[in-house]
Symmetry: C2
Subunit: 198 residues, 2 copies
């Protein structure tokens, strides 16, 4: 049996989202039919607005309503440090910590030969341009602790170091609150390697 | 840190959907920003259309673009049997089985004293009206195999039986506690074949 066309279209749209299969999409579509009118209107408006009103900051690559973004134009932030992340959402995690007050740079990806993405597929050229004639003293690389994240970190370090700017990497180790017995071996290895005197 | 307003609004909208918490909503919202324009436009259109262009069939209560629905107006279907289900999506599961050719009636709920829903909260009065002066010979009750579904089945059976119409219940080939919409087609077929008079 075919669903009524408007419902079938909505199921299709939901299925375009990551991690949502046919059953979940169907459940969500039926739910939408019974939602308040205003909530559905708001949902549709938000979708269009997120696509239309958001852009990437011309300087750092963060998602923003206005380019340059509020972080790049905030002169009270330390202008000597750049933290390099893979995706715009990583900035939110970092800002929620409230302890980093420098600048950011979003790569929008990683170097991954397996997926066929190379140095030219990440936002690295603009990072190098930013570093020239700047007050930047340290580049902190905050790519994920994955094979791709590590490869990208190594690539950037080699690219930046000749300019004399300090390049650091976020520490890897045990998550706070986690149990040692459940940690994977690579994490444990990183934790031992990165141990500090107390 | 606050998300840019259009993103925050979209996260809020996703969080209104069942089973989607803040983390998932955030992931989906970021994904939308990077989706194709046309896919996002289609998504927004589908949401509005699902809400605006779908209605409930005045006869059986199924979700439809036009009332009466295509099943109620299909004279090739057996006009002597009505299958009563809890929700419109249950009809789709039943139709996918392709072995039932009668009519349907959607209750839009169940009797559940725990949730404070009684006989007046389900679409039962219109079912009784349908049965009067009709050719209906059998009412198959396909409410879910849950406490509420069973209570609703019992209530309907008591209501209909005095009229002399045969009342049957889908067999418990359906696993107890499961929802009809998620049952596989063979299980549904067994359930129809094994239905018993109550």
């Amino acid at each position: 049996m075919l669903y009524p066309r408007p419902l079938a279209m909505l199921i299709d749209s939901f299925m375009k989202l990551p991690g949502i299969g046919e059953k979940t999409a169907t459940r969500l579509a039926f739910y939408v039919v019974e939602m308040q009118d205003e909530d559905v209107n708001q949902f549709a408006k938000s979708l269009l607005s997120a696509k239309r009103d958001l852009t990437f900051c011309a300087i750092c690559g963060d998602l923003t309503e206005e380019s340059p973004c509020s972080i790049c134009t905030d002169s009270s932030r330390e202008q000597t440090t750049i933290l390099v992340v893979e995706e715009a959402k990583d900035i939110v995690a970092m800002e929620n910590m409230r302890e980093y007050h420098g600048l950011y740079h979003v790569l929008h990806g990683t170097i991954s030969p397996m997926d066929g993405t190379g140095p030219e597929d990440i936002n690295a050229t603009s990072l190098i341009q930013r570093l020239q004639n700047s007050k930047i003293e340290e580049v902190i690389i905050g790519t994920n602790a994955t094979v791709e994240g590590e490869a990208t970190a190594m690539f950037l370090a080699r690219l930046i170091k000749p300019s004399g700017i300090k390049v650091t990497r976020l520490a890897h180790g045990l998550s706070v609150g986690s149990n040692l017995e459940y940690a994977d071996e690579i994490t444990l290895l990183k934790a031992v390697e990165g141990r500090r005197e107390i």
